[in-house]
């Protein structure tokens, strides 16, 4: 009797230690912000390539959301498409197809916005990914990082980015940057500082051949 009880206890302990399915802590949550302001809207074709790459590498259980950056981006309305992939691979594949179609439809119909509220988009991304409870959180900013806020919008809130990886993609050089590269550097440094002071990690990928660096960490 004692022996049976001991074996049962050991089994329970084993299940308690190893049986906990911590799928959330291992899952990835990716929130991609697409800058649709001014001439940068023309770059969205490249964003499609990035999204296709993401759809290819993300696994069942991961979360992916795409949102636009416009005049006021701190809004759920700016989320173009969002999905948490089903645990079954065949269902997840169908979800990926649907997601791709939504993004394609958005890119073909998007109109340029007058202002660029990157901070609002990041705040929205933080809120969304925290709500999803993903283990590894990524915010991808597809933008030239030049923020232009409309009159009356306040974005002087510090980011809470503990556990977040913020990656700027395709940070194009503006005409003014070409004249004075310091402007480009100061712009990038400003965002890096804000992200790192919020506890997040910062990186830039300008060459789209290096997309595999997104999840390299």
């Amino acid at each position: 009797m004692k022996k049976t009880t001991a074996i049962a206890l050991i089994l329970c302990l084993f299940i308690a230690i190893t049986g906990c399915s911590d799928s959330k802590s291992r899952s990835k949550g990716v929130y991609m912000l697409l800058d649709t302001s001014g001439t940068y809207a023309l770059e969205l074709k490249k964003a499609q390539l990035i999204l296709n790459y993401l759809l290819g590498v993300l696994q069942p259980g991961d979360t992916l959301a795409v949102a636009r950056i416009d005049t006021g981006s701190f809004s759920e309305k700016d989320i173009v498409a969002k999905v948490t992939f089903d645990e079954r691979p065949s269902y997840a594949n169908n979800q990926k197809r649907t997601f791709q179609q939504k993004v394609n439809s958005f890119v073909s119909t998007v109109k340029s916005s007058q202002y660029t509220d990157i901070s609002g988009g990041i705040l929205q991304a933080i809120e969304y990914l925290n709500e999803q409870g993903s283990g590894q959180k990524y915010i991808l900013i597809f933008s030239d990082l030049k923020q232009e806020l409309a009159k009356g919008y306040k974005r002087d809130i510090p980011f809470q980015l503990q556990g977040f990886n913020v990656i700027a993609l395709n940070v194009t050089k503006l005409r003014a940057d070409n004249i004075d590269p310091k402007k480009y550097q100061s712009r990038v440094t400003k965002w890096q500082g804000e992200v790192e002071s919020g506890g997040g990690t910062w990186s830039i990928i300008n060459d789209l051949e290096n997309l595999d660096h997104i999840f390299a960490k």
């Binding site: 230690i17 399915s21 696994q59 259980g61 991961d62 645990e87 079954r88 691979p89 594949n93």
Partner: protein, 498 residues
């Protein structure tokens, strides 16, 4: 005290240095005996401790070798018993089979003998002798008739009758002989049958003789093992090593098969248990796939046990035949069901892989290639999925050999390791001993002027005790000779230490 101050105790630096050297030599000379004792004790501690440790290790090795031998002999006895038992079982089966057929054989032989006897009796009946009609016919034919037609007719009639009678008798005689010949012809296959039956009996007896010879051989081996001879130990040890390597090789091949099997079912399992959940650091789907393979292996193990091919679980082998038969059917059915499940999973895997490839092509913007119409890969995977569980079931056989032989091999390796360890310990002990001598000799070399002076003084007084070498070690506690073999070490261990 700084060096400059030390060298300035006199106005002459050289003189100061010489004074210091003389003082140092004097100090070293007076400290010589205590130093020798201390160094001797230290070396003796190292030497003795290492030798004692080596002796203990060698003793452990001896015990281990003895234990290995016992285990080897026990395994050999079991194996020989098994072989003899199997031979007896075969003899039993042959005897039972032959004895079962014996009444039938006896009846058959009896019937054949009766038939032969009857045929012989019938064949022994001699056909009636032919009546000697010829002289009568000739004598009647030679009677001269006078031309009387009546006499002529009568004689003709007699002649005709006699001729007919003669013909009939010949026919009768011929038919009687033909009947005898047919009886003899019928006897031939019966004789052959009897011969064949007797040959079969001869073969059975010859087979039993061969089996008996095999049993004699096995019994000789058994006797050798029972007497625990060195020949038997060498033979069994060599056999164990061979089994260990061969079964290890087969297990590696089986591991490869299991790996392929795992890859075949891991992906589709994610469709069943989800691809995002984890058990510890492993995906649940991978663990589930692994569990299925392990269950198949277990079922195969039980099946082989139930069939009495392996003997890893004595409780299964000792079950009564009815229960064992049930167990065979249950394990076989479970194995077949699992094989079916694997086959279905292999099919699902193929579909998922196709779907994933299609998605990849869509995402890459590549024009989708027309779907492959050939079902051969799918069927191939399904067949593989069905066969591999049954193939893995046979792993039980090499596994048993591996487990039983690994005990012997591990024992040999452990004995070797202990021997090596003991050697290293002895080596350290001896190095310690000779290092101590080296240090003492170096010490004496450094203070040789003092020793020389001592020699001069004591020599002049005629108080030399003996050779310098003896005196050098008279107080040093180091034994002159290092003990370096096991017998001496053990004896040394038994001696009371100072």
């Amino acid at each position: 005290m700084p060096l400059a101050n030390m060298l300035s105790i006199t106005s002459n630096t050289f003189l100061s240095m010489m004074i210091w050297i003389a003082l140092l030599l004097a100090a070293l000379y007076f400290a010589r005996k205590p130093f020798h004792r201390a160094m001797g004790s230290f070396c003796r501690i190292i030497h003795s401790a290492m030798r004692l440790a080596a002796a203990s290790v060698l003793s452990a090795k001896k015990k281990l070798v003895q234990r290995n031998r016992e285990v080897l002999m026990a395994a050999g006895l079991e194996s020989a018993e098994r072989l003899v038992e199997r031979e007896f079982e075969r003899i039993n089966a042959a005897v039972v089979r032959d004895l079962e057929g014996y009444p039938n054989l006896q009846r058959q032989l009896s019937e054949l003998t009766i038939r032969l006897d009857e045929d012989y009796s019938q064949g022994a009946d001699v056909p009636p002798e032919l009546p000697n009609w010829i002289p009568i016919i000739e004598s009647i034919a030679s009677i001269k008739h006078s031309g009387d037609s009546m006499v002529a007719n009568m004689l003709g009639e007699i002649n005709r009758t006699l001729t007919e009678q003669h013909k009939a008798s010949i026919d009768n005689h011929r038919s009687a002989n033909a009947a005898r010949h047919s009886i003899l012809t019928r006897m031939l296959p019966v004789w052959r049958k009897v011969q064949k039956t007797l040959n079969d009996v001869g073969k059975s007896i010859g087979n039993l003789n061969q089996r008996a010879k095999s049993i004699d051989r096995y019994m000789d081996e058994y006797e050798q093992i029972r007497l625990q001879t060195d020949t038997a130990a060498r033979m069994l040890s060599s056999s164990s090593l061979t089994q260990f390597f061969i079964s290890g090789l087969v297990l590696m091949i089986a591991f490869g098969g299991a790996l392929i099997n795992f890859n075949l079912i891991a992906l589709p399992m994610s469709e069943m248990v989800g691809g995002a959940s984890y058990i510890g650091p492993y995906k649940t789907s991978d663990v589930a796939g692994l569990v299925i393979i392990l269950i198949e292996l277990t079922m195969g193990l039980f099946l082989m046990e139930s069939l009495r091919i392996t003997r890893l679980f004595p409780i299964i082998g000792s079950m009564d035949d009815k229960m064992r038969l049930r167990m065979i059917w249950i394990t076989f059915t479970l194995l077949a069901v699992l094989a079916g499940v694997e086959s279905a999973l292999a099919f699902m895997r193929d579909r998922i892989a196709q779907d994933m490839e299609a998605l990849r092509q869509t995402l890459a913007g590549v024009e989708q290639a027309s779907a492959a119409t050939s079902m051969i890969p799918t069927i191939g995977q399904m067949v593989l999925g069905f066969i591999l569980p049954f193939a893995l079931a046979f792993v039980a056989i090499p596994l048993e050999s591996f487990v039983s032989s690994s005990r012997t091999v591990l024992g040999i390796v452990a004995a070797g390791a202990l021997g090596l360890f003991a050697f290293v310990l002895r080596l350290i002990g001896n190095i310690g001993y000779y290092a101590g001598r080296l240090v003492i000799n170096t010490y004496d070399l450094i203070i040789f002027p003092s020793i020389w002076l001592e020699g001069v003084i004591t020599g002049s007084r005629g108080q030399r005790k003996g050779p310098v070498e003896e005196r050098l070690f008279e107080d040093g506690g180091i034994t002159e000779k290092a003990v370096d073999n096991i017998t001496d070490t053990i004896e040394y261990k038994k001696e009371p230490q100072e």
